[in-house]
């Protein structure tokens, strides 16, 4: 057996807890990443583990693929995701989260895939596809995480919004200051319709005005 590997690392302007929220917010893949993901199903989820089936299109090779993924937290600084693809191979992903101060962190993703010996020639292609995938999804996740952190500091409450906006009053003193973002898993979901059917993207192209 040979092991194909790739490592990607980037820094984020938000605490690592926001990144954890982002990884466990499965529902966003058919929203934020609507160009890549067409559908997903949560087969099981409790606390910090979940079993999710995803349908997506890979960059560079332009292959439509799906995988069954099990994700859990090995520690507050390490998320592990094991994804089993249709070809029978398992992608082992480790997401390491390091604090770089109260409002900044580093995310390092290490990908490994065990393959038969003859397939070690695919290492350069593996690295290219994984690196592109990491970059493309990062470009879409980064503004989401930074925005989430911004509205959170303004006092955002899930399923309510900002009280001072809704009540049409001035923001209370101190608004925008540091506010811890707790990791509460699992992240609440929008009810599926009908139950068990999963979540599908409503469109795969759009006129984007931007953030």
């Amino acid at each position: 057996m040979a092991t194909l590997t790739a490592t990607c690392s980037m820094e984020m302007d938000c605490p690592k807890e926001v990144v954890v929220w982002n990884y466990y917010d499965h529902e966003h893949v058919v929203g934020t990443h609507y160009k890549y993901y067409s559908e997903f199903r949560i087969l099981a989820e409790r606390d910090d583990w979940c079993l999710v089936e995803r349908f997506y299109k890979l960059p560079i090779v332009h292959l439509r693929a799906s995988s069954l993924g099990f994700m859990y937290m090995e520690s507050p600084n390490l998320i592990r995701s094991l994804q089993h693809g249709k070809l029978g191979m398992v992608l082992d992903q480790e997401i390491e989260l390091d604090d770089l101060g109260p409002e900044r962190c580093r995310v390092t993703c290490t990908y490994r895939m065990n393959v038969p010996d003859f397939a070690r020639v695919f290492q350069p292609l593996f690295e290219r596809v994984i690196t592109r995938w990491f970059h493309d999804t990062w470009v879409e996740d980064a503004p989401m995480r930074v925005r989430r952190w911004k509205v959170w500091k303004l006092g955002f409450r899930d399923f309510r919004g900002l009280d001072y906006v809704n009540q049409k009053t001035a923001a209370p003193p101190g608004t925008g200051g540091y506010r811890p973002h707790p990791v509460r898993l699992p992240v609440p979901k929008t009810p599926e319709s009908p139950p068990g059917s999963g979540y599908k993207r409503p469109f795969d192209s759009s006129t984007e005005v931007g953030y």
Binding site: D13, D25, E27, H28, V30, G31, T32, E103, V139, E140, A142, P143, M144, V146, R147, R148, K150, V151, W152, K153, L154, F156, D158, F159, R160, G161, L162, D163, Y164, V165, N166, Q167, K168, T169, A170, A171, P172, T175, G176, T190, R201, P202, F203, S205, S206, T207, E208, V209, G210, Y211
Partner: protein, 132 residues
């Protein structure tokens, strides 16, 4: 199709992204943009102080809603409005442009801001009451 997502403007590290003129007029209205900024999409969003305001043209009228999805805080106006409905980028929550009503969850609604158009500018009332 626009690809502006690739050059998304994200908040600065100190959270101060507002670029609009911030001079409240009598009545609490602030000039946040010129009418020409509605082109070419018929809509734009902008942080003004602690508010993210989505301004758009609907049935010939200029309206403003909160651009902050009450679900998880996503940008409601990221996609261009289609058939009078905005779809939030993050989780596809849908909101009626005319009313701000959420079509996915009857308990959620976007705050509507009062708007005035004067001297080629768009003025929005961010604060209507001093008391919470």
């Amino acid at each position: 199709m626009s690809k502006r997502a690739n050059v998304a403007v994200v908040p600065a590290r100190d959270g101060s992204v507002e670029t609009a003129e911030q001079h409240p007029a009598p009545g609490g209205y602030q000039r946040i943009a010129s009418v020409s900024e509605l082109e070419p999409y018929g809509q734009f969003s902008k942080w003004v102080g602690d508010h993210d305001v989505l301004v758009f043209r609907h049935n010939g009228e200029i309206k403003a809603l909160s651009n902050i999805c009450p679900h998880f805080g996503g940008p409601v106006g990221y996609h261009q409005m289609k058939d009078g409905v905005f779809t939030c980028l993050w989780h596809n929550y849908r909101f009626e442009g005319a009313s701000g009503r959420c079509l996915n969850n009857a308990h959620l609604c976007l705050r509507a801001y009062k708007v005035k158009v004067e001297d080629g500018g768009i003025w929005v009332q961010l604060v209507e009451s001093r008391e919470p």
